[in-house]
C-alpha cells in the first residue's frame, strides 16, 4: 500500500490476555519503529528494526513486550499478560533510510492500534 498499515485499529483486551499488533511498513522501507502514545501525551519510543535486525529495544517497558520483524518487512508487537497501564495507542513508523543514514529521512507513521485493557 501507499502508507504504513496497522491492524487491528482497535483492540479491547481483558487484563491478562495476550495481544498481537501488526504493522505493514511502506514497501522497501528499511527502518521500522514502534512507539507507544498514552492519552494526551507525545509518542514514546519502544523499539527499532533495521530490516530484520532489532537494533534497539531500550524503550520496551517490560519483558511482557516483544517485537519481531522476521523477514524484514511486516512487524508484530506482542504484549503478554496485558495490564491496564498498557492501554495506549501503539504507532508503527517506517523510513527508507537505514540507521547509518537516517538524518534527513522522513519517518512515516501509521494510523495506530488503539489498545484498551479492561
Amino acid at each position: 500500500g501507499a502508507g504504513v498499515s496497522q491492524s487491528p485499529r482497535y483492540k479491547v483486551a481483558k487484563r491478562g490476555q495476550d495481544v498481537a499488533l501488526r504493522c505493514d511498513p511502506i514497501s522497501g522501507h528499511v527502518s521500522l519503529f514502534w512507539y507507544q502514545q498514552a492519552l494526551g501525551q507525545g509518542p514514546e519510543f519502544l523499539t527499532y528494526f533495521q530490516n530484520e535486525a532489532q537494533l534497539d529495544k531500550s524503550g520496551l517497558p517490560s519483558d511482557r513486550f516483544f517485537a519481531e520483524r522476521p523477514e524484514g518487512s511486516v512487524s508484530t508487537l506482542k504484549i503478554q499478560r496485558t495490564q491496564q497501564e498498557d492501554s495506549a495507542v501503539y504507532l508503527c513508523a517506517s523510513s527508507l533510510a537505514s540507521a547509518a543514514d537516517v538524518s534527513g529521512n522522513t519517518i512515516y507513521f501509521g494510523e495506530g492500534s488503539w489498545l484498551t485493557v479492561v
Binding site: V4, G42, L55, V102, T106, G112
Partner: protein, 114 residues
C-alpha cells in the same frame, strides 16, 4: 540527551489570523527537527522538517517553521489559520544514536475558532 519542549498545552486563534506553535530543543550536534500533526483518532502526519540550509522551512498545508539556532527554537507558523487546522501538533528531534529515532514533545493542541 536530546529533548524537545512545547511550552504551550493549547493555542487558541481566530480563523484568518496568523498562528504560532512554539518548540524549543536541546541536542548535541546538528539538530534535525520535525513537525507532525495528529487529528482525532488518527496517526501522525508529517508536516515539515529542518535538516540544513535555509532557516525558514515550508511544509504541507501552508505551514512553515523557522529554525533559530541562537534561541534553539523551531516554531511552527501559518499566516492565516483555518478551522480545519485544529489538531494536536508535535515537535520532534532526531536522536543521533544508532537508530535515528524521533524524540517528541508533549504536543500542543491548536484550536482555531470561526
Amino acid at each position: 540527551a536530546q529533548s524537545v519542549a512545547q511550552p504551550e498545552d493549547q493555542v487558541n486563534v481566530a480563523e484568518g489570523n496568523p498562528l504560532t506553535v512554539k518548540c524549543t530543543y536541546s541536542v548535541s550536534g546538528n539538530p534535525y527537527l520535525f513537525w507532525y500533526v495528529q487529528y482525532p483518532n488518527r496517526g501522525l502526519q508529517f508536516l515539515l522538517k529542518y535538516i540544513t540550509g535555509d532557516n525558514l522551512v515550508k511544509g504541507s498545508y501552508g505551514f512553515e517553521a523557522e529554525f533559530n539556532k541562537s534561541q534553539t527554537s523551531f516554531h511552527l507558523k501559518k499566516p492565516s489559520a483555518l478551522v480545519s487546522d485544529s489538531a494536536l501538533y508535535f515537535c520532534a528531534v532526531r536522536d543521533p544514536s544508532n537508530t535515528g529515532k524521533l524524540i517528541f514533545g508533549q504536543g500542543t493542541t491548536l484550536q482555531v475558532k470561526p
